[in-house]
Amino acid sequence: MVAFALVMISFYLLGSVAVIASILVIAQRNPIYSVLLLIASFGALSGLYVLLDAPFAAAIQIIVYAGAIMVLFLFVVMLLNAPHEDTEHDLRVHPLMRVGPMGFGVVLSLVLVAELVVALSAGREPGSFSGGSTSSVAAIGRALFTEYQFAFEVTSILILVAMVGAVVLAKKESR
């Protein structure tokens, strides 16, 4: 009973940290604070994975997102010395504040809400993992390279394409 209460308290604590931090990410004017709040949100998500008895996913979440990708974000924000978004004037002429982009944003968020409603109201049992316990790294690896191999390889190619694209875009034209 005590253990269950502890798990529930941790769940609501971590969940609220994740949600509040994510909302604050877009409410910040200083990009450095946005980056840090996003890291806090990732940390809370990682804690939720631990509660789900998936320590491997939790560790990978920290290593990949909080440890590697967000360091690069921070690096870029610091190097570019991104300015504060402070004046009202800036906001009004911002390209994202025009009618077209805002309409597109509304459509996207409606699609997201619709998807969430469909997914949550379907009332399906959470997909069971055929490989056995999610805490076993060997089982996860085996499932990834047999059952889900196609998705895995396609994802790697997608990431590779994105990397090549970034290199091409960043490359200076040589004459």
Partner: protein
């Protein structure tokens, strides 16, 4: 609830905390004494016998210094970053085992493992917390709003990202050989001997991995010859230029505790952990301490022997030498395990 095992766990946690704190103080003394001997000086010798109380005097001095903060600094992050650095340094040791089961002279009949938390993905946890510790340094550099601090912080993040890859790949090659992500299981796989006299340490199976791990570990802890984040001659003191008093001490302490953690993990992964001849399993922690001390001495020895690299040399070495070596080592190891079934 208050079984001897439970109390033992709490005492163990406090013990690890105090041990890490005092190991930082001890390392400062060792560093100064070894440096002095290598340079034919005496080193600290006034406070206490042979200067042994010098670290205590240093701590008291640091505590009574004035706490300064630059006017242009970002107050919140300036205060937060030394805490991040120190917390990450302490947290990483939580999953590192440093001895077999002990009964503490029969006080705990079922025996207690000398490890705060036995997690089955311990290697990944060490790696994850290590990759978080870069935030303490980067944010300290940025929030100080000083050019030396910022340059130190930027160099540090570039260096740590570059060497983290090789570091992770050397860990991966050990876990392929050890067939586990748990540090306890990896240490247990290293018990016994080959041919009766060669200890079954993974350093003999993974000499290249050990080299990569140690090199990347030096870069990760910002030690000479890779101490660019705080290169005195170029950057005054690097990312902690604007820090004083105890906030400075927290960075200083974090650096030494990180060294201890890297050495302890190296001992567990490559040098057989607490396994060694002559001593029973319950006294294995003596072997563990001796091995960690040897690696720490090697660290200090390196610092006072080798000159600092140039920054572009460091980057070239990390990406064009160390990373290919680590990748090839991992591939060869995986192929070897697959075909010969080590």
């Amino acid at each position: 609830m208050l079984s001897p095992l439970f109390i033992g766990q709490i005492v163990l946690t406090l013990f690890v905390f105090v041990m890490l704190l005092s190991s930082a103080a001890g390392m400062v003394y060792m560093e100064r004494k070894v440096a002095a001997l290598m340079q034919q000086r005496l080193g600290p010798y006034r406070v206490g016998p042979r200067g042994l109380l010098q670290p205590l005097a240093d701590i008291i001095k640091l505590m009574f210094k004035e706490e300064l903060r630059p006017k242009a600094a970002d107050a919140l992050l300036f205060a937060l970053s030394p805490m991040i650095a120190a917390t990450c340094a302490f947290a990483a040791f939580a999953v590192v085992p440093f001895g077999g089961d002990v009964t503490v002279f029969g006080l705990i009949p079922e025996g207690i493992r000398l490890q705060v938390a036995d997690v089955n993905v311990a290697i990944l946890i060490v790696f994850a917390i290590g990759s978080m510790s870069v935030y303490g340094i980067v944010l300290a550099g940025w929030s100080s709003n000083s050019k030396y601090s910022l340059l130190g912080g930027l160099r540090s993040s570039a260096q740590m990202i570059s060497y983290e890859l090789s570091y992770g790949l050397s860990l991966a090659s050990v876990l392929v050989v050890g067939n586990s992500l748990s540090l306890t299981e990896i240490v247990n796989a290293q018990g016994g001997t080959w041919l009766g006299f060669i200890p079954k340490w993974f350093v003999f199976l993974q000499p290249v991995g050990f080299f990569v791990y140690m090199t990347a570990g030096i870069a990760e802890t910002n030690r000479a010859p890779f101490d660019f984040p705080e290169a005195e001659q170029e950057l005054v003191a690097g990312y902690h230029t604007e820090y004083s008093s105890m906030t400075f001490a927290m960075f200083f302490m974090a650096e030494y505790i990180n060294m201890v953690t890297v050495s302890a993990v190296a001992t567990d992964l490559f040098l057989g952990g607490w396994h060694g001849p002559f001593l029973p399993e319950s006294w294995g922690w003596i072997w563990f301490l001796l091995k960690v001390f040897a690696i720490l001495f090697f660290y200090v020895w390196m610092r006072w022997t080798l000159p600092r690299y140039r920054y572009d040399q460091l980057m070239r070495f990390g990406w064009k030498v160390l990373l290919p070596i680590a990748v090839i080592n991992l591939l060869v190891t995986a192929a070897g395990v697959l075909y010969f079934g080590l």
